[in-house]
Assembly symmetry: C2
Homo-oligomer: 408 residues x 2
């Protein structure tokens, strides 16, 4: 790991006070999988009746626990379930040994927590390609089970961190038919962030009743405009997993409730933004809003080309309103664009219009916007109604420092 | 520009001694387009009978001079021609003023050099989005014309540089029917390098006779496996242009000569490698050879995913044989891959096989390879016969330093 980097300057002031979700309990422990002197395994046990939905990486080299989770999704919800996560080792590209490690861990959790192995979801995050010593995990599961607690979610957010500089949590509460339903979620992620589906590791819990089909539909739709719209470095993890569990303990059915769907979306967006705010080496939080594209897909292609351009990300780090590089990224993206119909704004500063610098462009005003912590780049293609918004961070010396010797 | 960075540690020991190409003469001058105290405009005049082929960026926001060159390609070869290049300003995203600047410059060159405007090819490279003061160029053309010299190509290589830390030149000579034919070329490029067609600015001259159709075919084919197979930072310039001029002054027809085609390919590959060796901040030259892919397109997709991964490029900078990140890049690329059929080698060190670390893997041997200046990453997909080789450099603090304040 090298020495721990300082906490991101974009981190929230503190970890939020997440509402307790009835029907789920958490425990964490120092198992020494790779790290020393910190927790690295977390167990969440879910009561019978919990619906579980998920979205996972589409990487062709995805890790053994991801494949195992995907096979188990959609299982019966009238039984209990458990989620076990370790940090420090991704159990990815670990061959048959990796598959066996998942089986050993799932079996141990099933035996100890009295749930079927088909309802044990595991995740591993950390170094790729090194064998996972699963015994370090299986031998602590009884201790974990004996310390499960309804208010352990903040500790769980700590235990799943790798290069993260702060734990990530978000919550929402909605009133449905006079009753309160709560949603609490945690996430980890900092580098290797360009989700092609879900992202890094994200666990969200709610006490609402939501049937599995409805839950999966809500999660997939919200994922498309939250986790799938962030990028730190254009690199996609082999382990990206998002799991949402609805325990139903509130007794309130939210399967078709719009306010609940919006609340779930807001929790997912909050966590996605926190992942960007903890982007390796990040000093700026950047929103890129593209409108007027021929299609929504084109809008996202342009937005991601801007968000992933090393030249734009370094210009943002240098507080340089280098809008010529935005023109470059649009040009290279492959999606439809007409140079002479483009308009570009940095914050509220009109930068480019009609194929050239805006007549009222003020470099001083644009430079002032770039000095802020939150950067907004707006592009209108002038071609149609396609729109997309994505979020990223700048590219700094910190990113190089963190990644030039992650393993040593 | 900020302060000039030191010469790349990967630079050749010296600029090569390029053979004089009969039928072309060069001149350079300090026109003060943007830079002070260095040459920034070069003129090449070509004798009547010269064939000209070219490849240009496919960027949707390509610059005015690129559009002008594309419109002029394929013109009659029984007239003289001229190439005029300025550095410091790309004349890209400069609206109607940019188009007019190209017209003014081409007209001035045509008048002074007595060639048709349809045979004047111009390029501009530098900052995007700022108006080009074309008068600074038109007013020096008479002086340029009066100082044209057959041996001015080394000075021309200097005049077209922007963030380059060394001028780039390459040459080849072949015997055809007992006579010697020569090829000499120059290039500039260091950042915004992920050619989607040609790259940066490249000018190659030969005294062979090659008819325009044959020359264009040779150039396009060689371009696909040279300039189109390099990347520094995944960003594609708005100004990429490759122009090859065959003056025919040797009296030797090479239109169908295999040795000539191979020689042209070798000159293009040499220049492409020099662009990578001058990659902004580069300290390692990296070759990525992918074999066993389902198709050649898939092979290139995998190779470019590896070459453009910030995590792999930073690991190389840190001399870390982090092969897990290679697995990640293959997984995210979108091209076909089977995790359990992959083999990966760093240099001659077998790293991964059958979905896991190779049983004989030596981290010490892999680490020793990473300490060298030339890094070789070999991947076999085990799926088919598709192959591709691409070249890149590492991602270092130097890249951030250069690009966080290019304009200031």
């Amino acid at each position: 790991m090298g020495k721990a980097p300082p906490v991101s300057p974009l981190a929230p002031a503190q970890f939020p006070d997440l509402p307790v979700i009835d029907g789920v309990r958490f425990a964490t422990i120092e198992a020494g999988v790779r790290y020393q002197g910190r927790t690295d395994v977390m167990l969440a046990q879910l009561d019978p009746g919990t619906s579980i939905a998920g979205v996972f990486t589409r990487s062709a080299t995805r890790a053994a626990p991801v494949l195992d989770c995907q096979a188990k999704l959609g299982g019966a919800s009238d039984q209990g379930a458990a989620i076990l996560v370790n940090s420090g080792n991704a159990n990815a590209f670990t061959g048959k040994g990796g598959v066996e490690a998942v089986e050993h861990i799932a079996q141990a959790v099933a035996d100890t927590c009295a749930v079927p192995t088909a309802r044990v979801f595991t995740s591993s995050t950390g170094v790729i390609g090194e064998p996972l010593n699963h015994q370090r995990i299986t031998e602590v599961i009884a201790t974990l089970e004996s310390t499960l607690s309804p208010d352990g979610i903040a500790a769980a957010a700590q235990a799943i961190m790798t290069t993260d500089t702060f734990p990530k949590g978000a919550s929402a509460q909605v009133e449905i038919a006079g009753k309160t339903v709560s949603i609490s979620g945690i996430a980890k992620g900092s580098g290797m962030i360009a989700p092609d589906m879900a992202t890094m590791l994200v666990y969200i819990f709610t006490d609402a009743i939501v049937d599995q089909t409805a839950l999966q539909k809500m999660v997939s739709a919200a994922n498309a405009v939250t986790f799938n719209c962030i990028t730190v470095d254009s690199d996609t993890s082999t382990s990206d997993s998002l799991i949402v569990a609805a325990t139903g303990a509130s007794g309130v059915d939210a399967s078709t409730d719009d306010a609940f769907r919006d609340a779930l979306h807001s929790v997912m967006l909050d966590l996605a933004h926190q992942v960007v705010r903890d982007g390796e080496g990040a000093t700026k939080f950047v929103e890129i809003a593209v409108t007027g594209a021929a299609t929504a897909t084109d809008a996202k292609t342009h937005a991601m080309a801007i968000a992933n351009s090393p030249l734009i990300k370094t210009a943002i780090a240098g507080e340089d309103p280098n809008w010529g590089r935005v023109v470059m990224a649009i040009g290279k993206s492959g999606a439809a664009a007409d140079r002479d119909l483009l308009t570009i704004r940095f914050g509220d500063v009109e930068v480019a219009k009609d194929g050239w610098q805006h007549p009222d462009y003020s470099e001083a005003a644009a430079a002032a916007h770039m000095k802020g912590e939150n950067i907004l780049i707006r592009v209108d293609l002038g071609l149609g109604r396609g729109a997309a918004t994505v979020w990223t961070c700048d590219l700094t010396h910190g990113y190089i420092e963190i990644n030039a010797d992650y393993r040593s």
